[in-house]
């Protein structure tokens, strides 16, 4: 059966300035959030084990409503942005939380 090996494509590609800036900004938030998430919820994973699209509640990590509360506090403490109680859609995945943080910081005019 064919499958894609987890090996480098061994080809060079250019990451231009704007793309690099977007990646670095996002990566910084992801790294911080993953560390906090693992620490606060005592998850048995390394940061690199957590795919950013993994579902946080129900399927995927299977976190419960208490964990969700912990995530809200974690985001507020780490990034200074508050997830409204009514906005459950933000908590779908790490990536949707990071999108929210980036958007909120941009609205506040913070350096991206």
């Amino acid at each position: 059966m064919d499958y894609k090996e987890n090996i480098s494509m061994n080809q060079e590609y250019v990451i231009d300035g704007e793309m690099r800036k977007t990646i670095e900004n996002r990566k910084a938030i992801i790294d911080t959030f993953k560390q906090e998430l693992i620490s606060r919820l005592n998850l048995p994973y390394k940061p690199q084990d957590l795919h950013e699209d993994i579902s946080l509640l129900g399927a995927g990590l299977g976190l419960d409503s208490l964990d969700a509360l912990e995530i809200v506090v974690c985001v507020e403490n780490s990034f200074g942005v508050k997830i409204p109680d009514s906005n459950i859609s933000v908590l779908r995945s790490i990536n949707t939380i990071v999108d929210f943080v980036i958007s909120e910081k941009a609205q506040k005019g913070e350096q991206q």
Binding site: M1, D2, Y3, K4, E5, N6, I7, S8, M9, Q11, E12, Y13, V14, I15, D16, M19, T22, I23, R26, K27, P44, Y45, Q48, D49, L50, H51, E52, D53, I54, S55, G58, A59, G60, L61, G62, I88, S89, R92, S93, N95, T96, V98, D99, I102
Partner: protein, 369 residues
């Protein structure tokens, strides 16, 4: 080819059949758009009897299953289920599985990318049958009820206490005097249930559930719409990205693995790749390009060079564009970037955060009804 015991019933209701790994499946019934509407707005009934089903006595289950599956079987409490996978000795995916602790037995339901014979041989080789594993596929039907109103269908058939079933749980109910196993599961991002019944009760159960889903604005569905719904909801699909990539780490399935376990099939290979670090991983994409460009196998370009390949693709009615999953080098596998599709000057394709939609079911709290 293995054929569902509901074949004639399905055919009489307009099912169009296809095949996967020597097993017949219902590809579609009313068309993708209609079936999508059933599940997003009402309820869909789908024959999932193509899945491979096993049981094993509780006293043998933990030892036997724990050495095979990637997840931690010992932590599956009574009445609950584990979503995990089965890998070959090279750590490549064979099956996406639910393992349920149903008191005196554990039930294993596999969605595999190998034939019945190949999976049987795998378990045989691992000594699982000698240890008590029993193939119950041929004796049962498995029906999937999914949708925004799926909970209402299940409540109507099995009673109000089904509303209290948490996600990934199993409970036994009666249907016409026969025990049926009800799993709260599903991969559509709407409410989902699997109903496993003895073959003899299959046709009656099918009729009853179909009548209920129709009452709630739904109808009979095929597996094709499930492929699209899984992608839109970013549920892992072993028949799409799972089949082409097969490496659970590149696919982001680390959450299905207990890395602290001493043994599971493929552990050595998986641990080795984890230690080496990922070179590529799969992430979400979207584009306004048509299916001729945005399809499985299409290349994604950055600065004039191909950097990624599309592994799963579909049209999202909710977003009115095509969405998919592509395998990117890890250093550019981030949401919020724009690439080119098909060639250096092809249409734009953006990497996105998944899941890209907010299903209506997430706003419903069954335990507060």
């Amino acid at each position: 080819m293995r054929v569902s015991s509901l074949h004639d019933k399905l055919a009489a209701n307009g099912a169009v059949f296809g095949g996967r790994y020597g097993i017949e499946v219902v590809s579609g019934v009313a068309g993708l758009s209609t079936e999508y509407g059933y599940i997003r707005n009402g309820a869909g009934l789908t024959d999932f009897s193509f899945m491979q089903m096993y049981s094993i006595p509780e006293d043998a289950a933990v030892t036997v299953l724990d050495e095979l599956f990637a997840g931690n079987i010992a932590r599956v409490r009574f009445g609950r289920m584990l979503h995990t996978f089965l890998a070959d000795d090279d750590g490549h995916l064979i099956a996406d599985c639910y393992i349920a602790n149903n008191d005196e037995e554990f039930i294993i339901v596999c969605e595999s990318i190998v034939s019945d014979t190949a999976l049987h041989e795998f378990f045989e080789r691992k000594g699982a049958f000698k240890a008590g594993l029993k193939d119950i596929t041929g004796e049962h039907v498995l029906l999937s009820v999914d949708g925004y109103q799926a909970w209402a269908v299940i409540k109507e058939r099995f009673g109000v206490d089904t509303l209290g079933l948490p996600y990934l749980s199993i409970e036994v109910y009666q249907f016409n005097g026969v025990d049926v196993r009800l799993f709260r599961a599903g991969k559509t991002s709407e409410f989902g249930y699997l109903v496993m019944a003895p073959k003899e009760a299959g046709e009656g159960l099918f009729d009853a559930l179909l009548a209920s889903v129709r009452k709630h604005g739904g109808g009979l569905c095929g597996v094709s719409v499930h492929n699209d719904l899984r992608l839109e909801g970013r549920f892992f699909n072993i028949h799409a990205e799972g089949l082409s990539v097969r490496d659970p780490l590149c696919l982001g399935l680390q959450w299905m693995i207990d890395f602290d376990k001493e043994k599971f099939s493929g552990k050595e290979a998986v641990d080795k790749r984890r230690e080496a670090g990922l070179a590529k991983k799969i992430i979400g994409i979207r584009s306004n390009a048509g299916p001729e460009l945005f399809s499985v196998g299409s290349e994604i370009y950055n600065s004039g060079r191909p950097v990624a390949t599309i592994e799963a693709a579909c049209y999202s009615p909710t977003l009115d564009c095509r969405v998919g999953l592509a395998l990117f080098p890890v250093d550019i596998a981030y949401s919020g970037l724009v690439f080119r599709l098909g060639s250096a000057d092809g249409p734009a394709v953006a990497t996105i955060s998944m899941p890209p939609i907010m299903p209506r079911s997430l706003t419903v709290k069954l335990d507060e009804m």
